[in-house]
């Protein structure tokens, strides 16, 4: 029996009169790759935004290893070891690739904010440590040769990789990927799949939203299907593919 790392209990979010997430109950297992799928507008990204603190739930509970995330701010949630990427890539475009990852790493710095601003000699050592480990992440994702280019100048596929590198710099135990393959070509999508396998092997729990079903079925241990903010099916990729409700939701009646 695998341990759960994240539980959503009766999670609900209303935007005005629209119920985006409707009494959602979901448990995510530690060490697994779980895909959250569903038609457009099903509320998948809202679920991500709720968990990472960008929107506040109307009702219900989000529990990460028994810590309630409900009213925590995004930076505090990140500090717990929850990383995330966005659907539309969000890199710090006029900073270098290396700096992007270094910023992602700053939480693991031993110096406080004032220390790292005003204590130059100590800081150099700490900065070098951060720089070195950021460099390692870049090597892992094959971005090291772009280290000193401005992040905005990279092609989309590499920007996505960079966003993941930045999230990994946080040393997360839980990583959310919002449509990691969107806008990528076939070759880049394959590389993304391999990368997600690699992340899983680093003992990081991955939860992703993705429309590329081939990729989803290939990399996921479990799949949860939501429609109109409700959970309509979950299970292994095989089980879900055969579920009549899922076929219905995707193909219509």
């Amino acid at each position: 029996m695998p341990n759960s790392i994240l539980r959503l209990e009766n999670l609900r979010k209303k935007f005005g009169g629209v119920v985006a997430v409707d009494d959602l109950n979901l448990v995510f297992n530690k060490g697994e790759v779980t895909a959250l799928i569903g038609p457009n507008g099903a509320g998948k990204t809202t679920v991500f935004n709720l968990i990472t603190g960008f929107v506040k739930p109307t009702a219900g509970t989000i529990l990460f290893k028994d810590i309630r995330l409900n009213h925590k701010k995004p930076h505090a949630i990140a500090a717990l070891g929850i990383g995330r990427t966005f659907q539309n890539v969000q890199v710090f475009s006029n900073m270098t690739v290396l700096e992007n990852v270094m910023v992602g790493r700053h939480l693991r710095s031993r110096n406080g904010m004032l220390m790292s601003a005003f204590l130059p000699p100590m800081l150099r050592r700490e900065e070098n440590r951060i720089r070195a480990s950021a460099q390692e992440r870049l090597v892992l994702l094959g971005l090291d040769r772009y280290a000193h280019l401005p992040a905005g100048s990279l092609p989309l596929g590499n920007q996505r990789m960079l966003e993941i590198a930045r999230a990994l710099a946080l040393e997360p135990t839980l990583l959310f990927l919002d449509e990691p393959a969107s806008g990528l070509n076939a070759r880049e999508t394959m590389a993304m799949g391999e990368l997600i396998h690699k992340i899983k092997s680093m003992n990081i729990t991955v939860i992703l939203v993705e429309h590329d079903m081939e990729l989803v079925m290939d990399i996921s241990d479990r799949v949860a299907v939501i429609n109109f903010g409700r959970l309509i099916a979950q299970g292994t990729p095989k089980e879900v593919q055969l579920n009549p409700d899922v076929i219905n939701a995707y193909l219509g009646t």
Binding site: T52, G53, F54, K73, P74, H75, A76, A78, A79, G83, R84, F86, Q90, V91, F92, S93, N94, M95, E99, N100, M102, V103, G104, H106, L107, S109, N111, M113, L114, S116, A117, L123, E126, E127, I130, E163, R166, A167, A169, L170
Partner: protein, 299 residues
């Protein structure tokens, strides 16, 4: 061109340079807060005034040595900046750009009122950092204080470059300015960065006030005009672009001095405002700004 007219130009140039440095520093202050919050802090000029007046008290009344007074004044105004952020900006429930700007106007009025209570309505003299004996330079004269001003501006620029490019805190501030959401996701406490931006811009404002006071004599009401000129420099340099702001600040200062010399000193204060309007009419993103930095349109 005769040698006397050359030395005239040189003289106006130096006069402009010393004022321009102050506008540049005020503009840097505007930019820091703008980058962190998207607002224009109308109390920026008040930071400059507070710096000047506090320095006058500490050197002329308390008779502290200048380096010590310089440091204490900077720390004091920095704390005022932090207090302003903590008590008037941070508690706002739904911070919209317009609301925050109106708050900064309120704070500027309050600071101005308090400064009047403490320091009165008179102009205050302060002694120069070193001697007041002018130095000759190709027929023009320079006050040693002008050299102090230029030197301190250069030091601040160097510190600024170091901070934003070589320290993690500086990088995090830049990240926050470029993409707030992604920065929060990387674990950056954006509210803390806002506080830090107020602290830094108050500190820089204080230094501007400290170094200019021996030359212009500070009074409680100078903040608005200094602020507007600094704002003009910030807009001309491209809002949010501090290197642009420094060049623009110095440029406005020199233009002002030339206008005072060759047209009439009555028009001197109008120059910065005319430039401000021209830039807003013709190229709102400023000379060094990109259209991306056009978030000014928010209000």
């Amino acid at each position: 061109m005769t040698s006397s007219s050359f030395s005239d130009i040189l003289q106006f140039f130096f006069m402009g340079l010393q004022r321009g440095c102050i506008y540049a520093l005020a503009a840097m202050g505007f930019n820091m807060i703008y980058n962190a919050t998207g607002i224009i802090n109308f109390a920026q000029g008040e930071f400059v005034v507070l710096g000047g007046l506090m320095m006058v008290t500490l050197t002329m009344a308390v008779k502290l040595p200048i380096p010590l007074a310089f440091l204490s004044t900077t720390v004091f105004v920095t704390l005022v900046g932090i207090a302003m952020e903590r008590f008037t900006i941070n508690p706002v429930k739904h911070p919209t750009v317009l609301r925050l700007i109106i708050i900064t106007i309120a704070v500027s009025i309050i600071i101005k009122g308090l400064a009047m209570c403490f320091w009165g309505k008179n102009s205050h003299f302060m002694r120069h950092f070193s001697s007041t004996e002018t130095l000759d330079f190709y027929g023009a004269t320079i006050l040693p204080q002008t050299l102090w001003i230029i030197g301190i501006l250069l030091l601040i620029v160097a510190g600024y470059i170091y901070f934003f490019n070589y320290t993690m805190t500086g990088k995090c501030m830049r990240a926050c300015a470029i993409n707030r959401d992604a920065a929060r996701l990387a674990g950056i406490n954006d509210r803390k960065m806002v506080m830090l931006s107020f602290a830094l811009s108050a500190g820089i404002g204080a230094i501007a006030g400290i170094i200019i006071t021996p030359i212009i004599q500070m009074d409680y009401a100078r903040g608005a005009l200094l602020g507007i000129k600094g704002f003009g420099a910030a807009v001309l340099g491209g809002l949010g672009n501090s290197m642009g702001a420094i060049i623009a600040g110095v440029f406005i200062g020199i233009l002002e001095a030339l206008a005072a010399g060759y047209i009439s000193s009555h028009y001197m204060d109008a120059i910065a405002l005319i430039i401000l309007m021209l830039v807003l009419f013709v190229r709102p993103s400023g000379i060094f700004g990109s259209s991306e930095a056009m978030r000014l349109k928010e209000f």
